[in-house]
Symmetry: D2
Subunit: 345 residues, 4 copies
């Protein structure tokens, strides 16, 4: 932490800061310049933050230096982690494809989507049973019935399942069925939910809030990690900007930036960021090229009948091209497609 | 709803849309132009939205016309509502001042802040017992102990209390103590929480998500209303933009815009939007001048020791000026300061 | 300036920074902490910025402390300035109303708008003869013919005129007619234009770029000031955000923030920020309450025929209410309406 | 164009719109629904936009349907264009690498950078002689001396040159030396400059404004095209968002979106968007994978001494990796590296 004193700060005011810091167990290094004095703080930053230094007389600015997240930080854990989802790895050597329908609607639709996903190279099946919707009048998901459908399709296809949870009270039931729990963009700072999934014993996929900075995203992951769950995969899914030509603006730079700050895997959702089918393939290629550890993609056997986000789902015709891309691009960045049931290694 | 067909759409494709709409119980009006055909839809829009029209062959765009919220809309309820919080009105004829500490820390601090608030003209006391914090290492609030402190201070001062709830499971306990429940900016789309407060039997203050459009904010209110609770007060508290000179950018225009769209009261939080003490008074004056139905302001007897958001809390010296402003500005826009215990009418 | 070294930086790397700074004539103060070393720099910051310190081995971050603008900064000039436009003051004791048509169309329309403006209390007339338009197919203004119309209307009404210039080559002709030149939002970083108006000998109104930070806005003013012209008035006119309910988001907080950083006057354009007639009055009241030094407002005798921005122009019926507001609000913040021809002091 | 009438609009108000449109030479199709009436307009939209329809009684919304740009639109010109820069193609079959120093500083530095660029596969040399800088105290470029250096380096290396122009008055001199003129992000809506380069007889690279929508970017290109110059290359270089971990947020989706709307080539600047050296390679790979028609990259022989944007320039060590990437990625999306002097086809 660095404290910048105001130009007019007195020697007493500087002294006062030093003694506050020292009596809180820290060390303070004073640099007196021509127009300003700078105080460098060493010690327990969390403790310093409770001292109200910014409000003290003579203080112009308080600059934080160290990163505020610890368990998920790469500073103390330089090797990038591999998260295993029922045996399927997500990490630095692979490109893991997760695909499936946005919402579970029927057993037939879910199985058909899973087969499409598998054919394209997906080793994990996504599908929503609990849907967070902007409108209370929109389809809210099938609930536990949807989880049962997913479990049946896992039985048939061998694909482990990833599914969203939106209410802390639903965490136990979702964790009973799912191989990985997803926390959605609107819930990235739902701290009750983060703590609940932190104790659920299953890997968690944490989507970036559409208005969250990368730092806030990692802080949200820290909430989960604090409960003892370090099997976290981060998912960039587009941020909200002034541009309305796409549903959200995919922040492709967030992938290498986050990978530099955390040891956790970082994947990309090209379906929700673009919001348009014709963007899914180009954005998937970009995500693989930038070094993402995985992709999560909407597929649907009949998008025009989808109850949720049909316009962005890939259809059968797109899947051959996706299948080729997930095999051709990863080797150029030192990776290979993650193997799974029905997906040749 | 209006459907814009692509220039190259065929007559059959137009016909297909018409029959889909009609078989869903709606009417479709076709206007054939030189380069494009437009289809106007009349009927049940929620039903239309499940038809996947955007993905049909030949469709270029689907434009929604009606507002997607109903219970909170002013279209069907042109008179602006008054929400009563334990007898204190929030509505079109008054300016209601809500003030208190960001976080409840001790009985002494809470009572001192309440007295400061009351002196400035506040008729409702705010104070957080459950705090949503970006960092898991920051102070998280006193929980039920904090609620008890608030109740004691209400007993002493006569001020009804407004306090935040962050977990659906805490709604019953918070509703037992509080006169009004607050849903914070990070939880604006925490649908489980919205539904829980919708059934709690107490008025709710719904803060705007820092990345939420005005429409999404009203949709979130609709979630609460749908559970039968129409005692909702909306609170503008700043949105996230590229400008970093302030903590958030107070969207002052949102007040008249939202008041035009909904019958619910709209208040402003100048403390969290600016994030700096010296902005609180100017922004409070702006909020009253623009026509806000109330203000919610952080005050603290000793901000430099505050466990939360000290830099933005008003102190004793500011309160005389605030007290003058809340009496002088409302009459210029046809209002008066809402009376309360210890506040002359 | 403060340099934060990386945790793994060696003593030699720290030493290297110190000698670079010293050989550039500066002083460097080293604070060695447990996990990091901090170096405080004192001396010529502009010189330091050419040293490429951010790219040196071992450097993690370079933090700038002083403000990068000097002539317009309030640090060296604590008293707020008054800019006189042909005798009409814009400054801390007054509220100056500037009004007129967005675009000059005909002598009749311009005179009618000027009379409307005057009646409402305007002491300066605005009107565009050179219009920057997003589309090359939109009306681009009357050019010098428009300037002549403005000059005639000034003759008739006694109102000094404010008009936009978009091309550095037009600065001489515009300065010959106008009492104040306006640089528009799209040109805030058109440095050739800033330098041209800096040498024109007339006061300048500098609109904030719709994507500019407050700091960049002040830097743009510094470009004008550097050419010897300190008669600059800043104009907040809304920034671009994700919210689309208004044309732009009026950043009302920018008024007190900018007034704290610069001695120059800061006014508000409520017409272009809101983009809707019904928002102009509420936003005008908010701007006066927050402490703006003036308002610039579109008025038009017949907005439905306006060639530019008709939907946001005030009409005759609104003007009585505006006239009342500009007389009632300023006294509450220690100001009075600036007098002008036809406007009682 | 589609006009949505307010629910309470009368039959006379609808009739009034119809006759206004018809007397302007257009056709109006009325669809009366249960709660609203919709009017579809066919004819000259530019003419309709001057009718002030939005302000007429009973009108709730005016929705524009057709794209507002014509010459650059892909609607009338479905085949994607190839722009030739002194024989080097930029278009749908190639990936063209443009590289060089951000600013021309000395003949030696420029030649060294050109050689580095060439080695990596660049067929065009970039370098700034006129620099738009946020601060008037920053290095502003060498002007015509810089252009002469560029011309000498072209002589030596055979690389055609791309350089920025910031003042309409400088267009003739820059066009005399350069093979392609660049309009920078801050000047995207400097209409005087757009018109000047539209008449210069050389290809133009138009960078996207950091706050510009894709539609506004294409409208700015339309300004250039309107002067008869269709040799325009669009360059995505990052937009301004709330995220501050990168200098700007590279809007990677803008590449396929813009390519769908315009026949002009679209390239990417990964150096200015990320602002950090370690992001240049990942973002370059992402840009090629998403289908960009080219890359423009900062290289510098000694970035730590660069007078401008040193922290983002690639150095010698990075170039082998860039050289490999620009040869490996394009074939996966049906392209090949554009040949040039010293670059094997």
């Amino acid at each position: 932490m660095v404290i910048v004193m105001a130009p007019e700060a007195s020697a007493d005011e500087v002294e006062a800061i030093v003694s506050i810091v020292e009596s809180a167990g820290g060390e303070a290094f004073v640099s007196r310049g021509v127009s300003r004095t700078i105080i460098g703080l060493v010690g327990d930053i969390d403790r310093f933050q409770t001292l109200g230094l910014r409000g003290k007389p003579g203080v112009a600015e308080v600059l934080r230096v160290s990163v505020p997240f610890k368990l998920v930080s790469r500073e103390n854990h330089p090797t990038r982690s591999v998260v295993s989802v029922a045996g399927v790895p997500i990490g630095p050597d692979t490109l893991t494809l997760i695909a499936g329908p946005c919402a579970v609607e029927t057993p037939q639709q879910t199985l058909a989507a899973a087969r499409m996903a598998q054919q394209a190279g997906a080793s994990l099946l996504r599908g929503g049973a609990y849907k967070p919707r902007t409108s209370p009048y929109a389809f809210q998901g099938l609930g536990e019935d949807g989880l049962r459908i997913l479990a049946d399709v896992r039985e048939t296809t061998g694909m482990p399942i990833v599914t969203e949870v939106v209410d802390p009270n639903d965490v136990p039931v979702v964790a009973r069925y799912a191989d990985m729990l997803q926390v959605g963009t609107r819930n990235m700072q739902n701290f009750a939910l983060l703590q609940a999934v932190g104790g659920c014993g299953k890997p968690v996929m944490l989507k970036r809030g559409m208005n969250a900075t990368i730092e806030e995203w990692l802080m949200a992951a820290e909430y989960i990690a604090q409960r003892g769950n370090l099997d976290i995969v981060l998912c960039e899914r587009g941020i909200r900007t002034f541009e309305k030509a796409t549903r959200n603006t995919l922040d492709i730079s967030a992938v290498p930036v986050a990978q530099g700050l955390t040891h956790l895997p970082v994947i990309v959702d090209p379906s929700h960021s673009g919001g348009r089918r014709e963007l899914v393939l180009p954005l998937s290629r970009a995500a693989m090229a930038v070094g993402a550890d995985g992709l999560i993609i909407d597929v649907h056997p009949a998008p025009e009948q989808a109850l949720c986000d049909g316009p962005q789902a890939l259809v059968a015709d797109d899947l051959a091209e996706l299948g080729r891309a997930v095999r051709e691009f990863p080797p150029l960045v030192g990776r290979h497609l993650a193997a799974g049931a029905g997906v040749p290694a």
